[in-house]
């Protein structure tokens, strides 16, 4: 399984499945990261974490710990 955490900056991927539960998963999904969404990893913060994504035409920042829960293809 490849997680969003491992995706290099600049690549665009499709979300395959969301792992995790409760508040974290719900929040990620509410922001539009669901199965089938196209996500671009735009940037990594200067200190290596969090990362910036482009999804549904806007910029979203999540920590690598959360990115690890997102399985991509």
């Amino acid at each position: 399984m490849t997680s969003l955490k491992e995706v290099p900056v600049g690549s665009t991927v499709t979300i395959k499945k969301l792992h995790g539960q409760g508040a974290t998963k719900k929040r990620i999904m509410d922001m539009g990261l669901i199965k089938g969404s196209r996500v671009k990893v735009t940037k990594v913060a200067p200190l290596g974490d969090p990362i910036e994504l482009t999804v549904r035409g806007y910029e979203l920042s999540i920590r690598k710990a959360e990115a690890e829960l997102i399985e991509v293809a």
Partner: protein, 704 residues
């Protein structure tokens, strides 16, 4: 008539609210939480109240803002909802819309940023959108005040004819079928028009909604049916609903929206962000912005204005004028003393910080409004979250080096409650302007004015913040819930004058009102205690007033508490009490009490050092304490924060004095030294013991 204003953060909601209500705003907190509540009268319609809801992305049960909003919408059913949407980001904004539409409340959608949409050449088919969503859609530009009149007219019409939106066709057949069956079993306690909302919440197993509305039986009855769908879809019911909402929206976007820009084309905001959060340049740019902000508001302009207010306005002009007025009116000397030294002195000291505070608020409002504040969190998150703080905690802590009150108020920019509470507790540990006076005095009396004293106190402040953060983060109090860091980085835009100004004035007002009430009262009490004997005889301030006052007796009474800190005399006790009301007085009181004999007559070197340590970590002043009480959101949390600071101040001073005396001044090893060593061991244990961590996979907090 009540109209609720709902929408995503950064959708232009505040701008629209200001446009709708003008200056008739009332700002407070939602009951029991520190979520800001704003309402106001609609301009030109005195009978219409606009209720501004917190900026939210969803009506999920996971954040305070969302819970507060949905409780208001369901329990107090406004006559209509205005759902403001960022027209440059329809897809994500419509997600909240699909939830609002199910509440069964008349609603109008306001697509904002019409000016930007036109500039980009985007096209939105409004007729088709209205048909698919089943409610009126109006395009506006809150910033340029376009379309707002039409929005108001449409909303009032919809409210008057009580037009409930048609329920949009969001769900797939199997899900919809089950939701409809749940609807039919909800009972009579729930209005027909709101049944869809509740049925979906039951399907999602939303514990809060189920409990509050006694729907346990319904959930029980359909539990197996819900499980069946979950197995078929290989997902939780909550996720199934979210996915179907977004699929419904994707279809809408395909049909009604055409972007004017070529795919992948960078906007101006994207280009700015490429530089500002660049891996190499981000930190230097951040440092530069912080430096400019600090330099102007704390070091130069702010200090000049504060010095002028303190020394000239409340030091000469006001007291001079009042003195001559009192003399013309032949006011009794005690009353004159009360007014000039007690009230003007007390309130003036605090009001002196107003210019500095307003400048800090001005910079904060600009950083927030233009979109940089979320980038600060993005840049700083990695370091600060190790100490239980948030990326946004950096700014309050920095402001704390000027004054604690605006520092605590600046924590409002932190969304997560635990991060905010932690920041409030720790932000005042960096020596503020008032504490630096004390540091300067102790340094000049006992340490030959060495600059190392001040430098090491700043470092000690940082160390205490870091260790406190680590230790507190390991307690259960700061791990009550999982708080994911999922944050929108909004597009940059020019800060808007009106929004910035209103935010500055509103925050400044709180501070001034506080100075006018609490600090006024405390000034009078302190004045009374130091000006009267127990037989209520007034003491002439020119004579050695404090030595006969009530305050002295109190100082004597509590002085044994401070014996282990090296200053168990009444002067020490009095100074600690007075300094608790304001650190500006921590140095001057000692000097007054010591008189010609000098500060060294009251304190030994280590005693003076430990007096300084105690004051550095004690709560800064009455104004800061009342701000802590307010911003913590509950009395219990407020007292916890203040008590933590009081105890911490005592412990640090205790360790400092006992260890210092034993190690450097040839003191004997006694019971107190042993206690000091035990305290150090205790602190080390609190810092290194295993705490809690978030199990991301299962979404819960577990013991590490």
């Amino acid at each position: 008539m009540k109209i609720a204003l709902a929408g995503n953060p950064n959708s232009g909601k505040t701008t629209l609210f200001n446009e709708l209500t003008g200056s008739s705003q009332y700002v407070g907190n939602w009951p029991g939480v520190t979520v800001e509540k704003k309402d106001g009268h609609l301009k030109g319609h005195k009978d219409v109240i606009i209720q501004d809801l917190p900026g939210i992305y969803s009506l999920s049960p996971y954040t305070l803002e969302e819970v507060v909003s949905r409780r208001y919408l369901v329990n107090e059913t406004p006559d209509a909802i205005i759902n403001i949407i960022d027209g440059t980001n329809l897809e994500r904004n419509l997600y909240l819309t699909t939830q609002l539409l199910e509440l069964g409340i008349p609603m109008v959608i306001a697509i904002n940023m019409l000016d930007v949409i036109e500039k980009n050449g985007d096209h939105i088919d409004l007729k088709s959108l209205e048909k698919r969503l089943g409610c009126k859609v109006v395009t506006i530009s809150a910033l340029k005040n376009r379309g707002v009149d039409k929005l108001v007219k449409t909303t009032i019409e919809e409210a008057n004819r009580n037009h409930i939106p048609d329920i949009p066709a969001i769900y797939e057949d199997a899900t919809l079928d089950l939701i409809k069956r749940i609807e039919s079993d909800l009972g009579t306690g729930i209005k027909d028009s709101a049944k869809r909302y509740f049925a979906v919440k039951v399907f999602e197993r939303d514990e809060k909604v189920v409990e509050e509305n006694n729907l346990q039986n319904v959930l029980q009855a359909y539990s197996n049916d819900i499980k069946k769908i979950e197995t078929e879809e290989d997902d939780t019911s909550e996720s199934i609903i979210t996915t179907q909402r977004y699929m419904f929206i994707a279809d809408i976007i395909d049909a009604v929206y055409k972007s004017g820009r070529a795919q992948g084309e960078l906007t101006l905001s994207d280009k700015i962000d490429k530089i500002v959060t660049n891996r190499v340049l981000a930190l230097p740019i951040f440092a530069l912005i912080i430096f400019v902000m600090y330099y102007i508001s704390v070091t130069t302009l702010g200090t000049w204005m504060t010095d002028w207010t303190n020394d000239v306005l409340f030091g000469e002009i006001v007291p001079g004028a009042v003195t001559s007025l009192c003399q013309t009116l032949h006011v009794a000397s005690w009353l004159q003393h009360l007014i000039i030294d007690g009230i003007i002195g007390g309130v003036g000291t605090v009001l002196g910080f107003v210019p500095q505070i307003l400048l800090v608020f001005l910079f904060l409002a600009i950083l927030e409004d233009c979109g940089y504040m979320s980038r600060v969190a993005f840049i700083m998150d990695r370091i600060l979250r190790k100490f239980g703080l948030s990326g946004k905690s950096f700014i309050p802590i920095l402001i704390g080096s000027g004054c604690g009150v605006p520092a605590i108020m600046a924590t409002r920019t932190i969304e997560n409650v635990e991060d905010r509470r932690m920041t409030i507790m720790l932000a005042t540990f960096i020596p503020c302007a008032a504490k630096t006076e004390l540091i300067a005095m102790i340094s000049s009396v006992f340490f030959h004015g060495s600059a190392w004293v001040a430098t090491s106190m700043y470092f000690l402040g940082i160390i205490v913040i870091v260790l406190s953060g680590i230790a507190l983060k390991k307690t259960r109090w700061f791990n009550s819930e999982v708080s994911p860091f999922v944050m929108e980085l909004p597009a940059y835009h020019l800060p808007q004058f009106k929004t910035v100004l209103m935010r500055v004035l509103e925050r400044g007002k709180h501070f001034i009102v506080k100075a006018g009430t609490i600090i006024f009262a405390v000034s009078v009490i302190v004045w009374f205690l130091e000006s009267y004997t127990w037989s209520l005889q007034y003491i002439d301030p020119e004579s050695a007033a404090l030595s006969k006052s009530i305050l002295r007796t109190i100082g004597e009474f509590i002085s044994p508490i401070f014996a282990p800190l090296g200053f168990g005399n009444w002067q020490g006790g009095v100074s600690v009490l007075v300094a608790l009301s304001a650190k500006e007085l921590s140095a001057s009181t000692i000097q007054t009490l010591a008189g010609k004999a000098g500060v060294a007559s009251i304190f030994t070197t280590m005693g003076g050092f430990s007096y300084m340590l105690l004051n550095l970590f004690n709560p800064p002043c009455i104004a800061a304490m009342s701000t802590i009480m307010r911003e913590m959101g509950s009395k219990a949390w407020g007292w916890f924060a203040i008590l933590y600071q009081v105890v911490l101040g005592y412990v640090v001073a205790f360790i400092g004095y006992q260890m210092g005396t034993w190690l450097f001044f040839g003191g004997s090893f006694n019971a107190f030294t042993a206690i000091a060593i035990l305290l150090i061991i205790g602190i080390v244990y609190m810092v290194v013991r295993p705490g809690y961590k978030v199990d991301e996979l299962h979404g819960e907090v577990v013991k590490a």
